[in-house]
């Protein structure tokens, strides 16, 4: 592969990586949860992005191959799914040995401990059995983080086992909690050749794809042999200072966000990003260079965290808030600008008999009003306006925002980036490409533990 560049956005909840080529085309994107170890998170996101780039290449190879033609997209879906299955199986194996390893350190009587060992064996064999169904390419649509997938299966089985065999559910959970952390400290992407081979084999076994076996084998081989010539990497985000980078390879998330938003929507002049921990209002020029910005003050009201707090108060998932608020017919005014007080006000409104959806609509409006203040402080809103960050995926928030922006600043183009979670990483990758100082380094991989069996 020709020269390519990486941008990494080390956020407080997720870490994102993006590969771009010399023509500033996005090659691949990767995301992982940030964990407590930023360095590891960033390594894994980078690997995910590389795999994502390889799959993009694979898609191109398939499209260009003699026979595949119109089948390329469904074929790619199968290959991707089996690829993830292979990786999942490998992760599951590591998780199993971590659980068993932890069990060995118990001081319990042997007979008692043995019961747990057997329970674990049962749980994991069930998980492995179920997973083939989970990763059926005909049914599967999205990929989840390993942690989420494994934990829901494990918990369900552990609950069943603990009831059937009279074992402590808490102890089983404890084993899992420790093991998942240790498992996540391994990198699994290094086994990609093996997974691709697995995916290839499984796929060509399907009668419908058997006729394309040669094309598939060729495309997979070409993909595996590709190397990425990474010439520069730039890091950004909350944890950027913990990156093993030189100072000149680090950019503030404000600059990256501005440039990233400009890349996605070249007409952008004002950017609003509402993330988990902070809110940013950014003004950019026609080149995407930041000319002014404001961030929320020490008060957390108006950040994604505020919604998290409200979700806890209402005993709901944070992703359920927006859809419920959309059902509102009248917006209850929430006056408390303080996150903590908003909880009290919420309870009081509920006690007064206000509908949950109306209160939630009010809370979403309250968040957006805070953002409006930041926007005003940064210099107002100018066409085009781009809204990014986790809260941009919440329909109630975007609805409230659009209304207020238009009321206060007039009609204009409002972009809501579906892919906006990568905005900062894209900006960072662009800075990496445009760095006048030229060639820098890729990440230092040595610090990372690889899968012990690779």
């Amino acid at each position: 592969m020709d020269r390519c560049y990486i941008g990494i956005d080390l956020g407080s909840t997720t870490t994102k990586a993006v590969f771009i080529d010399n023509q500033e085309r996005v090659l691949g994107r990767g995301i992982t949860n940030s964990r407590s170890n930023y360095e590891l998170a960033c390594q894994i996101a980078r690997e995910e992005a590389e795999i994502n780039a390889r799959f993009a290449l694979l898609g191109q190879h398939l499209e260009q191959s003699k026979h595949v033609g119109k089948h390329s997209s469904s074929l790619l879906k199968w290959l991707t799914c089996y690829y993830h299955l292979a990786q999942y199986l490998r992760q599951l194996e590591t998780l199993r040995s971590e659980c068993l390893g932890a069990r060995k350190h118990w001081n319990s009587p042997e007979a008692e401990a043995e019961k747990f060992t057997q329970a674990l064996s049962y749980i994991f064999s069930e998980m492995e059995r179920e997973v083939y169904d989970e990763f059926d390419p005909e049914k599967r649509s999205e990929s989840d983080f390993f942690r989420d997938l494994a934990s829901s299966a494990y918990m369900r089985l552990a609950e069943q086992v603990s009831m059937e065999r009279g074992l402590s559910f808490g102890r089983l959970v404890g084993l899992f909690d420790g093991a998942i952390l240790r498992t996540e400290s391994h990198s699994f992407a290094g086994g990609y050749e093996e997974y691709l081979e697995f995916a290839r084999t499984k796929t060509i076994q399907a009668p419908r794809f058997a006729p394309f076996a040669d094309d598939i084998t060729e495309a997979v081989a070409a993909t595996i042999s590709t190397t990425f010539n990474v010439v520069n990497t730039v890091g950004t985000g909350y944890g950027r200072l913990t990156l093993p980078f030189a100072k000149q390879q680090i950019r503030s998330e404000i600059l990256c966000h501005g440039l990233g938003a400009h890349f996605m929507f070249p007409g952008t002049r004002t950017v609003l990003d509402i993330g988990g921990q902070d809110t940013k209002a950014i003004q950019v020029d026609k080149e995407g260079i930041v000319t002014a910005f404001q961030m929320n003050d020490r008060c957390a009201a108006g950040c994604g965290r505020y919604l998290g707090y409200i979700a806890d108060e209402m005993n709901m998932g944070v992703h359920q808030l927006g859809p419920l608020a959309m059902k509102s017919s009248k917006t209850v005014r929430i006056n408390s600008t303080c996150t903590v007080f908003a909880g009290a006000e919420l309870r009081e409104r509920l006690a007064l008999g206000e509908a949950r959806e109306d209160i939630l609509a009010g809370l979403h409006r309250a968040i957006i009003l805070r953002a409006m203040s930041l926007l005003a402080r940064s210099g107002g809103v100018t066409n085009e306006f781009t809204f990014t960050g986790g809260v941009a995926r919440n329909e109630a928030a975007t609805t409230a925002l659009k209304k207020l922006v238009i009321e206060n600043y007039g009609d204009m183009v409002i972009n809501i980036g579906n892919d906006s979670i990568y905005t900062g990483a894209i900006g960072a990758a662009l800075f990496a490409r445009r760095d006048p100082r030229g060639v820098m380094a890729d990440l230092e991989i040595s610090k990372l533990k690889t899968d012990p069996r690779l």
């Binding site: 503030s252 404000i254 600059l255 000319t291 910005f293 404001q294 961030m295």
Partner: protein, 425 residues
């Protein structure tokens, strides 16, 4: 003393430390030496007048800021809050009250004497009124108020001047006479005012030196040391003039050798950004804050905080020919006694005169006099100068309100922005 021959980089710093330590020693021994003590505020202080009556001044804000720098303010503030003071209010007041409740040991570890007089110069800060009402309940001594009218219309009117002068003549001087037992010596005051004016001339030259590139001074972090003698117990004394002569000589030396100011991280010669600052520092985090900026290569070329005890660049000098009138004008000329539009003008002028790359507003929870309206100041400055500012928040002495990571993040973004916006970047 021939200061020219004695140039060492930190000479003035040593001088200053000795002066201040000496003052606190004098205060500790005030009772045994039969010296009367006046508690009074820094902005618009009547130092020469107090000294002319052979009395010693104690400045509660200086004690508070010193406690902050010595990281004792957190305990003091919590002590005051135990006595019912709200978390919402000015932490300088609470720090001072906490210190008093814990035995009134001053910043150098020596006890502070009780006041013989509370001289409440109500200049540029409403909280001063409350602060001394509180002290009045603690100390059985007379209190005298000097109300200094606010420059709401952007100027000192004859009525305002008349009001302050009359209060000085008819209220303040008689109170000082009564407490000190001494007759007002107008000639002695005049001599001191002449010395004040000399020191003021020198200080203005020091501030103006920041127009050089590289700037030989840091007008904010370094600046708070430079204002020490002139804003407190020394204005009007010969040693104050000596200090500014020494400082001026050092500055000249640095200009000649193209040297930057001395910071805790060493000499800042490679100055990447020239910044104007509005708002006081955060004392408990003074060093960390300075370091964050030094690491970025930032030099502060002008600041408003260092004008809380007088601007002087506008031409004002204490005037021996008009002793009480000029003392009154001095009180009215403090930075925080200027209207918001006037403050915008001052900052705009700084940004232009000192060829700044941008400006930083350090907004302080404790001080509404500074902080209320700063967001509008920022907006106006951005509009008028075309330069973006950076807005950060913390507190004067309350360590609970300083988030280093947050401030660092914001400042880094800001300087990277300036860098990317520079022509040819």
């Amino acid at each position: 003393m021939n200061v020219q021959q004695k140039i060492q980089k930190e000479d003035s710093m040593i001088m200053q430390k000795e002066m201040i330590a000496g003052h606190f020693e004098n205060l500790a021994r005030a009772t045994e030496n039969g010296k009367k003590v006046v508690y009074t505020f820094v902005p618009g202080n009547l130092n020469e007048l107090i000294l002319a009556f052979d009395m010693l001044p104690v400045h509660p804000e200086v004690n508070a800021l010193q406690s902050g720098m010595r990281k004792m303010s957190g305990d003091y503030i919590q002590e005051a809050e135990k006595f019912g003071h709200s978390e919402d209010v000015c932490a300088y007041v609470k720090c001072d009250i906490g210190m008093m409740k814990k035995g009134n040991i001053g910043p150098t570890g020596l006890p502070l004497p009780k006041p013989d007089l509370l001289l409440l110069s109500y200049t540029g800060c409403f909280t001063f009124l409350k602060w001394f009402e509180i002290l009045k309940k603690e100390y059985d001594c007379p209190i005298v108020l000097l109300q200094v009218p606010y420059q709401a219309e952007g100027k000192i009117t004859p009525e305002m001047r008349d009001y302050v002068t009359r209060q000085l003549e008819e209220v303040v001087v008689p109170a000082l006479e009564k407490v000190s037992g001494k007759k007002f010596d107008r000639d002695r005051l005049k001599e001191m005012l002449a010395l004040s004016a000399q020191a003021e001339d020198l200080l203005v030259e020091v501030w103006n030196s920041a127009k050089n590139k590289p700037s030989p001074i840091d007008a904010y972090f370094g600046g708070v040391f430079y204002i020490g003698p002139i804003f407190t117990a020394f204005r009007g004394l010969p040693e104050c003039v000596d200090y500014y002569k020494a400082l001026k000589a050092e500055v000249n030396y640095r200009i000649k050798n193209k040297l930057g100011p001395v910071t805790p991280e060493g000499e800042l010669n490679d100055q990447k950004y020239r910044i104007v600052v509005e708002g006081p520092p955060s004392w408990p985090n003074f060093r960390d804050f300075w370091k964050i900026l030094t690491d970025e290569g930032v030099v502060m070329v002008a600041s408003t905080y260092t004008k809380v005890g007088g601007l002087f660049e506008d031409g004002f000098r204490h005037d021996p020919e008009r002793p009480l009138e000029s003392l009154g004008e001095y009180c009215m000329g403090c930075y925080t006694n200027h209207s918001l539009p006037a403050r915008v003008d001052i900052l705009e002028k700084y940004i232009k005169d000192f060829s700044a790359d941008g400006f930083m507003i350090h907004s302080i929870k404790s001080c509404n006099s500074f902080s209320a309206g700063q967001l509008l100041i920022m907006r106006e400055l951005e509009k008028r100068t075309g330069k973006a500012g950076v807005f950060i928040e913390s507190d004067l002495v309350d360590p609970r309100y300083f988030s280093a990571a947050n401030i660092k993040n914001r400042l880094e973004s800001y300087f990277q922005m300036i860098e990317t916006k520079r022509p040819g970047a």
